[in-house]
């Protein structure tokens, strides 16, 4: 019965495939392995989501050791949803990677990219699947270490310093998380999330647990690049190979947001963290500052990848904002934006990857008049950009609708103003690119470039199309997000 082992298969498949890539070495074969593993993981994740939707959360004891002692994999609706997002992006990125990586990574290192990509995928899926706080740390580090390597694979030497800085920041974040877990273990004697949730209320008032919460929050916020802990992100996204940026932007920060959701709504489910410990005010303030300041900085960027990176910071603000309402609509908004932003940022970074493929650099100078030479690529960018602004019939609109609704429900008008203000800034930075790409004449002596290869265009358009599809019919995604939020806000796991 393979269905029963899906939770572990989800993680083991890419984990086992990674060393195979090193063994086969030939880029084409490594690619095949990576593709099969990520599609397999996607099928597994989808199967899990259906199982969870049908029969509720799935618990899987690793090695047959029962829950509080052994490591438990536990997939509830949120976890399964995040797993589907991550593996779907993975499945779409792999076909795209083939041409893109050949252009941006030295030929003798291509197999390493696929190996690291699979490890990262395994780590991210593991985070979504696990029900154990310490196990989560291990997966967090697996995915983080492999992403440092993927960033450093770029041929630009600046990628090395960027990867180094990311490593320092990421390790500090992970260690903070570890300290938080240790403090909780000290007080409760368990690492299982469900167990922690049950035992924490008794000791919630202690200073130790307060310290644990603080360490966890800071550590995870470093990972998800919440303002002001975001300094590593813009450069990392700018200098990494395009595929890596697309993959990390669409998955890694989302998974970090998921970890934050897990901590607040599963581990601390029975403790009133938002009201009693001022978390709401703190998170909300940081999220709002992130939304406004990062969008404002994005307006002044000329390198488009960096511009999109700053936009990501703002969008992370939206997710954290949605979560910090701790209401049904707010959390729904946060979770749906997790999905929606993965789609749009994936599409945007992949479109820019196509530009880099042809022109080496994606900056406002190089894309003048590019709309004529690479119409499909630039059109995909427009779709993603409109989604970022939140134009109706795109996924961004659904997110924005839900978040504004949450703010109105909570009677927080300044937040409404902040969301709106950030959207207005998004118009400014997206439109700079669109105007330059489509409505400026092609400069004299610009290289005559053709469209990107189909193997890159089709994945890009898959995501851009999904931006529109799930923007027109958001019922499925919204209902999953709403059910997840209801589940998280219910009586805990």
């Amino acid at each position: 019965m393979i269905g029963g082992h899906l939770p572990v298969l989800l993680v083991v498949l890419p984990l086992m495939a990674a060393p195979v890539c090193v063994v086969v070495r030939r880029p084409a074969w490594a690619w095949t392995v990576a593709a099969l593993a990520s599609w397999g993981a996607f099928v597994a994740a989808l199967g899990l989501l259906l199982q969870v939707l049908e029969g509720g959360p799935i618990s899987y004891p690793i090695g047959g050791w029962a829950a509080p002692w052994g490591i438990e994999y536990r997939l509830d609706l949120v976890g399964a949803f995040v797993a589907v997002i991550v593996s779907a992006i993975g499945g779409i990125v792999v076909p795209y990677a083939r041409s893109s990586i050949e252009r941006e990574v030295a030929a003798d290192r291509i197999y390493l990219f696929y190996c690291m990509y699979l490890l990262c995928l395994a780590g991210l899926l593991g985070i979504a699947a696990t029900g154990d706080a310490f196990n989560l740390f291990v997966f967090l580090e697996i995915s983080a270490l492999s992403s440092y390597v993927m960033i450093a694979l770029a041929q630009d030497r600046r990628a090395l310093t960027v990867a180094y800085r990311y490593l320092i920041m990421g390790t500090i974040g992970a260690t903070f998380y570890l300290i938080g877990v240790g403090l909780m273990y000290m007080m409760t004697g368990t690492l299982n999330m469900a167990d922690l949730a049950a035992r924490l209320p008794e000791v919630a008032e202690t200073r130790t647990i307060l310290a644990a919460l603080a360490f966890l929050t800071v550590g995870i916020c470093l990972k998800l690049a919440l303002f002001p802990l975001h300094l590593w992100l813009p450069n990392a996204y700018t200098y990494a190979p395009s595929v890596v940026t697309a993959f990390l932007a669409a998955t890694a920060t989302k998974v970090a947001v998921y970890v934050l959701i897990r901590v607040y709504f599963t581990i601390f489910a029975n403790v009133d963290v938002f009201e009693a410990m001022f978390l709401r005010e703190v998170l909300m303030a940081l999220a709002v500052v992130a939304m406004l300041s990062a969008s404002a900085i994005a307006v002044f960027q000329t390198n488009i990848k960096r511009m999109l990176a700053y936009s990501s910071l703002a969008q992370i603000g939206y997710m954290v904002l949605g979560m910090s309402f701790a209401t049904l609509t707010g959390l729904t908004g946060g979770i749906i934006h997790l999905f929606n932003h993965a789609l749009m940022k994936g599409a945007l970074f992949m479109a820019m990857g196509c530009v880099v493929f042809r022109l080496q650099v994606a900056s406002l100078d190089t894309i003048e008049g590019l709309g004529r030479r690479m119409p499909a690529t630039m059109a995909a960018f427009v779709v993603g950009g409109l989604s970022l602004i939140g134009v109706p019939l795109t996924v961004g609109f659904v997110s924005k609708w839900t978040l504004v609704l949450a703010a109105i429900e909570a009677n927080m008008w300044p937040i409404v103003v902040a969301i709106v203000g950030s959207s207005l800034l998004a118009i400014a930075y997206v439109w700079r690119v669109v105007e330059t790409g489509f409505f400026r004449p092609t400069p004299e002596g610009a290289p005559a470039v053709a469209e990107a290869p189909l193997s890159m265009l089709i994945p890009t358009w898959l995501l851009a199309g999904a931006c529109v599809w799930f923007g027109i019919d958001a019922r499925t995604t919204l209902s999953v997000a709403r059910q997840s939020a209801a589940f998280l806000l219910g009586s805990g796991p």
């Binding site: 740390f137 440092y148 030497r157 180094y164 320092i168 500090i172 690492l191």
Partner: protein, 117 residues
């Protein structure tokens, strides 16, 4: 609690702050890695400290001992050490590559060379 009871935690805090300070204040990439390592080790010490049970012996089964320390944190820290070693290896590998690419491992010099190019 008496002095020895809290001693470990004081050490942990001291190590943690030393490590953290080195990571932030040092411009030399190797020294930063060292600082990071000290910072991580403080957490290992912390975990080991919480596993101690008063009067308990090391968690190795042997006759005549009824009270053992908690073995689980030890196991956890084994894992964390592995993660730490991997991080360290990667960080040092990156430093080697940076030395190749820039000819220096000093942060300010790297910045100068980057601006010059």
């Amino acid at each position: 609690m008496t002095f020895p009871g809290l001693f470990n935690y004081w050490v942990v805090i001291a190590l943690m702050m030393v490590g953290f300070y080195v990571v932030i204040a040092q411009g030399n990439l190797i020294k930063k890695v060292v600082g990071l390592n000290i910072f991580q080790v403080s957490v290992f010490v912390f975990y080991i400290s919480i596993s101690k049970v008063k009067g308990g012996s090391a968690p190795i089964l042997s006759e005549g001992i009824a009270l053992y320390g908690n073995p689980l944190p030890h196991v956890l820290i084994l894992t964390a050490i592995v993660v730490g070693v991997a991080t360290m290896a990667l960080a040092l590998a990156l430093v080697v590559r940076i030395q190749d690419a820039y000819g220096t491992v000093e942060e300010d010099e790297i910045r100068e060379r980057e601006e010059a190019s």
